[in-house]
């Protein structure tokens, strides 16, 4: 168990900056998710921490040790890869024992630790099989067991669930969360799937174009995003943004007003489930274009002014495309962004 500290890490690929002067702290025993679209640099950062990629500048500390120039083997970490990377020529037992054997532990210790990891991930019955005989979900468990068996100070995970189907992903997510909580391992988890990051992490670091846009708890990332990018990337449907004009210390539109110490155009962000749908005569006029019955809710897509807005309604609501409804916003559940920078005011 150890903290991870990243100080001013940069990475250039030729002329392109993949990572720009990045700082990140993961506390001992904490689970942090690196969330971002593909190409945002999240996997590069993880690989720099693992020692599989060289950094252009900056330092990586695990615990209090500067591991920046050590080979992967000496950093005291374990990793779970996107395609599992279980060794096809070794049995499940030997796969899980691989790290321990490299550490030259004695046979009894290896047996004990492998069995413990296997119990935790429920792969005990498959220990003698070869990975080719296992399903994707089982291979995934083997990869996690292999990582946990060495009792690493730090566990790195690179989109470990992205190759599983939806149902299995949901199941493995809950399982991973309870297993890692039990093991208490410091974990850095890379994903592009916001539901995974929300469900698993203690804190989420949202990355965009090589910088961390926001790092906070899932709840705050969701309800108080620090930029339009975070609001648009996290949550399904994404946050809605309306362009409004703030005047005389007040931001107002039909059926809504809040004090704001800013003059000029701003973006008002709100979640689709945080509005009240009222009669068209009250609130913002919302022209419904598409109604999608999602079972647990109705997803309405439509226009307010010229802007596309998505709103969530109760599943029993009788709404058809072509209708015009009124939206009422709650000042406690909105964010205000700068139109130029896209950052929260």
């Amino acid at each position: 168990m150890a903290a991870i500290t990243i100080e001013g890490v940069s990475k250039r690929f030729g002329a392109a900056m993949a990572l720009e002067q990045l700082d990140l702290n993961v506390a001992d025993g904490e689970f942090v998710a690196l969330l971002g679209p593909s190409g945002c640099g999240k996997t590069t950062l993880l690989r720099i921490i693992a020692g599989l990629e060289t950094r252009s500048s900056g330092r990586v500390l695990i615990g209090d040790r500067d591991v920046s120039d050590l080979p992967p083997a000496e950093r005291g970490l374990a990793m779970v890869f996107q395609n599992y990377a279980v060794f096809p020529h070794l049995t499940v037992f030997e796969n899980v024992a691989f790290g321990l054997r490299m550490q030259k532990r004695d046979e009894a210790t290896i047996r004990r630790q492998v069995n413990r990891a296997a119990d935790l991930l429920q792969i005990g019955p498959y220990l003698d099989r070869y990975p080719a005989k296992l399903s994707g979900g089982q291979r995934q468990r083997v990869a996690v067991a292999r990582a946990l068996a060495v009792e690493p100070a730090v566990l790195l995970m690179d989109e470990p669930l992205s190759n599983l189907d939806a149902l299995l992903r949901l199941e493995m997510r809950a399982e991973l969360k309870s297993v890692l909580k039990e093991a208490g391992t410091t974990t850095l988890y890379v994903t592009h799937d916001q539901t995974e990051a929300m469900g698993l992490a203690d804190r989420i670091a949202v990355m965009h174009k090589g910088v961390i846009e926001q790092i906070d708890t899932p709840t705050r990332i969701y309800s108080k995003p620090s930029s339009t990018f975070v609001g648009g990337f996290v949550g399904s449907p994404p946050m809605n943004f309306l362009k409004l004009e703030a005047k005389n210390g007040v931001l107002a539109c039909e059926g809504f007003s809040m004090p704001l110490a800013h003059d000029g155009p701003v973006l008002l962000g709100f979640r689709g489930e945080d509005v009240r749908l009222v009669d068209a005569s009250q609130g913002l006029a919302f022209a419904v274009r598409v109604v999608e019955p999602m079972g647990s809710h109705l997803l309405l897509t439509g226009q307010v002014g010229g802007e596309r807005i998505r709103v969530v309604a109760a599943p029993q609501a009788e709404i058809a495309s072509g209708m015009t409804l009124g939206l009422q916003l709650d000042a406690a559940r909105v964010v205000v962004m700068d139109t130029q920078t896209g950052k929260a005011l």
Partner: protein, 192 residues
């Protein structure tokens, strides 16, 4: 015929040697392609001079050496595509879990590449087997193949020659059937 036997051991050993440390870069791959385009005749000239000086000309060892040299680019190409087929993540996983680069290669890459390598070696052997037949004729008899065959043709009845030829190709056919799965992969033809 002793020469055939010598090559049976010599040639595959030569290919195997070529395979161990290879990891392809674009420039190197281009060079390999160039050797394919290089006229054998030009190459043969200094080689022959060299061989005569070293007293290797017309010996089994000499022939196997030439064969190995000629097969090297082919072997490099094959092994390169074999190694490329082994996911990088497997090696990286080995590094993360405590291997040095060399250990990772020995413990992970090599065991995975071996079946393919064996198949490639057998295939190379099969090709070489055929070449050997021609080569032995060429080197020992100092005549052209066509000339030699024409001589034989006038001496022995046709079906004898065909029978002999058939026996020669039997091992090739057997081997090819045994390893065809690997061969298709090697040649990049998907068996959809």
């Amino acid at each position: 015929m002793t020469m055939v036997m010598a090559l049976l051991l010599g040639a595959p050993a030569g290919y195997a040697l070529a395979r161990f440390s290879f990891k392809g870069a674009t420039a190197f791959r281009l060079m390999i392609l160039l050797t394919r385009a290089f006229p054998l005749a030009i190459l043969a000239l200094p080689l022959t001079v060299l061989f005569i000086r070293a007293g290797l000309y017309d010996t089994a060892f000499g022939v196997s050496l030439v064969h190995t040299a000629l097969a090297l680019p082919f072997a490099a190409m094959i092994t390169a595509s074999l190694f490329a087929g082994i996911p990088r993540e497997l090696e990286e996983a080995a590094w993360v879990f405590g291997c040095t680069r060399w250990q990772a290669f020995v413990k992970v890459v090599l065991p995975l590449a071996l079946p393919g390598m064996a198949a490639a070696a057998i295939f190379a052997f099969v090709i070489s087997w055929n070449e050997v037949f021609a080569a032995s004729v060429l080197t020992v008899q100092q005549r052209t193949l066509t000339a030699y065959l024409l001589t034989v043709l006038s001496e022995s009845p046709l079906h004898y020659r065909f029978a002999g030829g058939f026996i020669l190709i039997v091992p090739s056919v057997v081997f090819i059937f045994a390893v065809r799965r690997y061969l298709f992969a090697l040649w990049g033809v998907t068996s959809r």
